[in-house]
């Protein structure tokens, strides 16, 4: 029982790290998240004093600095929520497909959501954020099913590399369809980049309000499916022998992940690689038990995306780098590292 998946995860064979180690890492992760959130409201193109930060966090908007800080609060919250959602979705997808390369960005799910929203705006005059979210969820569900179907054709079913290739190719295909739709419509072309590169710059409390109910549903479904994912990790036969309904477990967990991806993409645009990197880090810190990996992925994902956003604001002052660009730079090397470890013979 200590060995989970020898084939793909040779060095993540530990099911659970000792309780003390886990508790320590939990404290560290939460602490880092809080520090990063504080940094995110304090750091930006305008330098503000700590007293102004505190005053603004209390609701004051009297000075310019306080007004700037209060603008950064919804942005920080959006980064936290989207980071948590994408990392959690990535962890669930890795569990559902038993595939270390799964990530909402790599599997084309985020680009599918983006494409659906763009089509909705261009051809169906959609304007309300709630309709964006519904359409994005439909789009990500459709592309998840599509990519899984394509990736599992042929011998050996959905092997990690085949699935990743199907996802990356579909993602490229969707991206070129997105630019095809957007460039034909000058009236909506102003917002092009927000559907091609993800960012959290345009956050408002209103958008957050639309997004939160969907994310809450997704979070609950995903975290509740942790036990089921643990059984799935033993292999389909063994999971069925333990009394799991394998198909239902997979479908429910995947639905939760799709809701998270759709809702976050509808507000923040497609952001890749967060869902890939964070669950891997979590498994190293906490062991492979999904009851730990899922919630901790959410915490660390939130910290990572918020930190990425702060870095994007700092390194290109006075301009900003969208956080989607930062995560690509962070995540692509990890992706390559994991691809290199895969045995190609498995295909």
């Amino acid at each position: 029982m200590t060995v989970l998946d020898h084939r793909t995860e040779p060095d993540v064979a530990v099911l659970r790290r000792p309780a003390r180690a886990r508790a320590a890492w939990l404290l560290v992760a939460v602490g880092v998240l809080l520090v990063v959130m504080l940094a995110s409201v304090a750091i930006g193109s305008r330098a503000v004093s700590w007293s102004e930060v505190w005053a603004a966090l209390g609701g004051a908007q009297d000075t310019l600095g306080e007004a700037a800080v209060s603008k950064r609060i919804p942005r920080t919250l959006l980064a936290v929520l989207v980071g948590a959602a994408l990392a959690l979705a990535g962890a669930v997808m890795q569990g559902v497909t038993r595939n270390p390369l799964a990530d909402p960005g790599i599997l084309g799910v985020n680009m599918g959501a983006s494409l659906a929203v763009v089509i909705g705006i261009a051809y169906f005059q959609m304007t309300s954020p709630t309709s964006f979210i519904w359409v994005a969820i439909a789009g990500s569900a459709a592309s998840a099913v599509f990519v899984y179907a394509v990736g599992s054709l042929g011998r050996g079913g959905a092997t990690p590399l085949k699935l990743a290739l199907a996802g990356a190719a579909s993602s490229a295909a969707f991206a070129s369809l997105v630019s095809g739709v957007v460039l034909g419509r000058n009236d909506i072309a102003g917002g092009v980049t927000s559907w091609q590169i993800g960012g959290v710059g345009g956050a408002t409390y209103e958008k957050l309000g639309y997004m939160v109910p969907f994310l809450a549903v997704g979070f609950v479904i995903c975290v509740l499916s942790a036990r089921g994912l643990n059984s799935l990790a033993l292999g389909d036969e063994l999971a069925a022998g333990l009394g799991q309904n394998v198909a239902v477990t997979r479908a429910v967990a995947a639905f939760g992940a799709v809701v998270l991806c759709g809702a976050s993409t509808a507000i923040a645009g497609p952001i890749a690689f967060v869902g890939l990197v964070v669950p891997h880090a979590c498994r190293m810190l906490f062991g492979a038990d999904h009851r730990w990996v899922l919630p901790m992925s959410a915490v660390i994902g939130a910290a990572l995306l918020t930190a990425g956003d702060v870095v994007g604001r700092v390194i290109a002052r006075p301009q900003e780098i969208d956080v989607g660009i930062i995560t690509a730079f962070l995540g692509a090397p990890v992706f390559i590292y994991i691809v290199r470890r895969q045995k190609v013979r498995e295909l």
Binding site: V150, A173, L183, G184, Q196, Q319, G324, R340
Partner: protein, 358 residues
């Protein structure tokens, strides 16, 4: 007894002769088909080129167009045809051919249609470098091209090195290339977002590829690169086809495999980089040309020339469609992207189902 053997030998000889004859006949038939297809492609490229010169907001007759090309002054046509349509038409053919050459070289070498430079990050590298050189460093056309080539070669080397682990496996190389491409594309996106004065049109050029506003100063470097690099690539055509049999077999047939590979990579990356510097990474042309050429030419001989012609034709036709088929003018890369996307997915479906080389 001896008589019987002689008779059997004779029969076998005759049968061998018959087989040899039928092989020779079908080979001849295929080579005729190859020549016919190449000729047809060449004629189509020329016809479409002529159409692009004549058709537009104002129509000019063939005689007017010819007079402009010969250097005579024709009212209106000298500017419209000579300054606008001619460089654009020439660049469409040249860039399409470059992408076709470059794409099929990589696809042949790595024995996988997915291993085209626009999927494994080489075009992204050249594009990111060119965008960076233009927006951030304000370099001249030639310097931009050199920058783009260096980046393209660098990316090719990087992808190859990273995917090397007890030999290079096609799937690993493609996935690593996709990862690298993701990083490079975000560099391009960042560079474009930094250039405030950069308008949307120019930005799409570096995201999807566009021929809008092409001038001779865009076109000439591509033509120069082609006159140097295309002969180099064509000399290697036969060796390149033979490396498909596997390194050992090709070596036994007298091919210096490593040398062929290095020359082909440098030439292909050079062509791709020059074309990308001139008109942006026109989406999926490098990827599409080879498989389409293989489909219509069959499997005889090298695919270099047919792919280049298919690439040129693709860009020309897509550019015409983008300009005139819709209410709004689309950049050419959008049209080829929308065409290429379903084909990419189809290819993966087909390969997976066949359980093939993936």
């Amino acid at each position: 007894m001896e008589v019987l053997e002689a008779v059997t030998d004779d029969r076998i000889d005759r049968r061998v002769d018959a087989i040899a004859e039928s092989v020779a006949r079908s080979r001849a038939r295929r080579s005729v088909r190859r020549r016919v297809v190449i000729a047809l492609l060449g004629v189509s490229v020329i016809v479409v080129f002529a159409i692009t010169l004549m058709v537009g907001n104002t129509f000019y007759s063939p005689s007017e167009v010819v007079r402009v090309i010969l250097g005579h002054e024709v009212d209106g046509a000298t500017f419209t045809v000579g300054r606008l349509r001619l460089p654009r038409g020439v660049l469409a053919v040249a860039a399409g051919a470059c992408f076709g050459f470059g794409g099929v070289t990589f696809q042949t070498m790595l024995r996988n249609p997915l291993a085209s430079p626009d999927i494994i990050g080489i075009t992204s590298g050249a594009g990111a470098a060119a965008a960076f050189a233009i927006v951030m460093l304000s370099l001249s056309e030639t310097q931009v091209s050199i920058f783009a080539i260096a980046a393209g070669l660098g990316v090719a080397l990087l992808v190859y090195t990273l995917s090397f682990k007890d030999g290079v496996a096609g799937t690993r190389l493609i996935l690593i290339g996709i990862g690298i491409a993701a990083m490079l594309n975000s560099v391009t996106a960042y560079v474009l977002s930094q250039a405030a004065e950069w308008d949307l049109q120019q930005a799409t050029r570096w995201l999807a590829g566009s021929l809008n506003g092409s001038t001779w100063s865009d076109t000439v470097p591509v033509l120069v690169a082609m006159t140097v690099l295309v002969p180099v690539l064509l000399i290697q055509a036969r060796n390149l086809t033979m490396t498909q049999l596997g390194d050992d077999t090709a070596g036994a047939l007298g091919v210096r495999v490593e040398r062929t590979r290095i020359i082909a990579i440098v030439a292909a990356v050079g062509l791709i980089a020059f074309a990308t510097a001139a008109c942006g990474p026109i989406a999926f042309v490098a990827f599409l040309s080879g498989p389409i050429a293989a489909r219509i030419v069959g499997t005889t001989g090298s695919l270099l020339i047919p792919s280049a012609l298919v690439g040129a034709l693709l860009v020309q036709v897509a550019d015409l469609c983008g300009q005139f088929a819709f209410d709004t003018r689309y950049p050419v890369g959008v049209i080829t992207g929308v065409l290429g996307a379903p084909y990419l997915i189809y290819l993966i479906v087909r390969t997976n189902r066949a359980g093939g080389s993936l």
